[in-house]
């Protein structure tokens, strides 16, 4: 299995979990530094449990408009364009460019 194969498998799994109606904490968004720190801390505690990661970070399969800005993975600082991957160490999961999460930052 290549990295790309692994990524694709996990990406499909995430899409499946979210499409099945799994609820995540989309709001409130992590607007302040303190909120970001809290979420990152919660993610560290969650370790590698995928569903916990998705729930804590408020994953969605679509962009979220917030404060007049469309927050999507494609424009996020943690997004690796060519691998379609979220490089935030506490998440570290493959994504799609039009997904979104509460830890979005530009």
């Amino acid at each position: 299995m290549t990295t790309a194969d692994n990524d694709e498998g996990l990406r499909s799994e995430i899409a499946g979990v979210l499409a099945s109606g799994f609820a995540t904490n989309v709001f409130p968004r992590a607007d302040s530094h303190e909120q970001v720190q809290q979420l990152v801390s919660d993610l560290r505690e969650a370790g590698n449990d995928l569903k916990s990661k998705l729930r804590i970070s408020g994953f969605t399969l679509h962009p979220v408009e917030h404060g007049g800005i469309s927050q999507l993975c494609e424009t996020c600082m943690y997004y690796k364009v060519h691998r379609r991957f979220c490089e935030l160490p506490e998440l570290n999961v493959p994504v799609e460019p039009d997904w979104s999460c509460s830890l979005w930052r530009i």
């Binding site: 364009v81 160490p89 930052r105």
Partner: protein
């Protein structure tokens, strides 16, 4: 021959350490090649006790000319404005500073503490520290906004924590060799020759800044440190990536974020927990944007640059 006196107030001696490591020119070159007579320095001075007092009194009385007065560290005013917490040669250091600044040909503040107050002046500032002519961004400081040395210049501010060794010696040589009038100072009285460009100027990570690829851990060779790790390189005036440290590197080149130590607000956010080495954001957008860039422009630029980034920008291209 130019007489130079170096005193130290509320300080850690970091700028002294930096000065003694200078190479172009070195501290020894100042004496042997540029005719600077180092009257006294905290680490080099020989005089003690009454002999030192006599030297200082000869300077303040005008019996001996003081061509260059270098001050490192804050002016300590505590307790209650007396300056008794920092006594030197029989009296509060602040009294010596006041008297010596009046007779100095040039007064040079070295390092953040002497320029803006630095870390000692961080709230709640228990030592009642001030910089020589600034307290953070506020003009005035200990000597007052109208202070000018005998050469007609305000305090020449060479900030940094510490200041780069060669910034120190090159400015000292400039004033010692009669080129003080050629110095052009910015609004914070920093020599423009050093403090007009940005720390980012010459940074090896500029391609990652351009394509918006973020470093996520210290020491990573790929990625820009601005986006997540609190690097202040795009809004800090310094030549740290033009005049390299130890002639070969800089903080950002080594994978550590610039802390903005040449700016008056340093240390930023009063060192509140979670603010050091972490980019402060509001609704996902950095609170402090690169100088001259507005929020709307930043968002558009970032989205476009990210979309256009080539694959190599996401890889470590510095192969050993």
């Amino acid at each position: 021959m130019a007489n130079l006196l170096w005193l130290q107030g509320g300080a850690c001696s970091g700028n002294t350490m930096s000065f003694l490591n200078a190479e172009e020119p070195s501290a020894c070159d100042l004496v042997t090649d540029f005719g600077i007579n180092v009257l006294w320095h905290p680490s080099l001075g020989l005089e003690l006790g009454e002999n030192l007092q006599r030297l200082l009194k000869a300077l303040t009385s005008g019996q001996m000319p003081l061509d260059i007065f270098v001050f490192e560290g804050t002016v300590v005013n505590a307790p209650n404005g007396t300056g008794e917490w920092n006594r030197f040669a029989g009296r509060p250091m602040k009294d010596w500073v006041s008297d010596l600044a009046k007779v100095a040909g040039y007064t040079v503040a070295i390092g953040d503490c002497a320029t803006w107050g630095g870390i000692p002046a961080t709230v709640p500032n228990p030592s009642e520290s001030q910089g020589l002519q600034f307290l953070k961004r506020q003009h005035g400081g200990f000597l007052g906004a109208n202070y000018k040395s005998k050469a007609g210049l305000p305090v020449i501010n060479v900030p940094g924590c510490p200041a780069h060794p060669d910034w120190i010696t090159q400015i000292v040589v400039a004033v010692a060799t009669g080129r003080g009038a050629d110095l052009s100072l910015d609004e914070f009285q920093r020599p423009k020759t050093f403090f007009t460009s940005f720390t980012q100027t010459g940074c090896t990570r500029n391609m990652h800044f351009a394509y918006k690829v973020s470093a996520t851990e210290y020491g990573q060779r790929k990625g820009c440190l601005f986006y997540d790790l609190g690097c202040r390189g795009p809004m800090t005036h310094s030549p740290c990536n033009r005049i390299l440290w130890n002639r070969q590197s800089s903080k950002t080149r080594a994978g550590m974020p610039c802390m903005g130590c040449t700016e008056p607000e340093f240390p930023f956010f009063e060192l509140a927990p979670g603010t050091v080495f972490k980019t402060q954001t509001l609704m996902g957008v950095p609170k402090d944007l690169p100088s001259g860039v507005d929020k709307s422009g930043y968002i558009k630029l970032t989205a476009a640059a990210k979309a256009a980034s080539p694959a190599w920008a996401e890889e470590d291209i510095f192969v050993v």
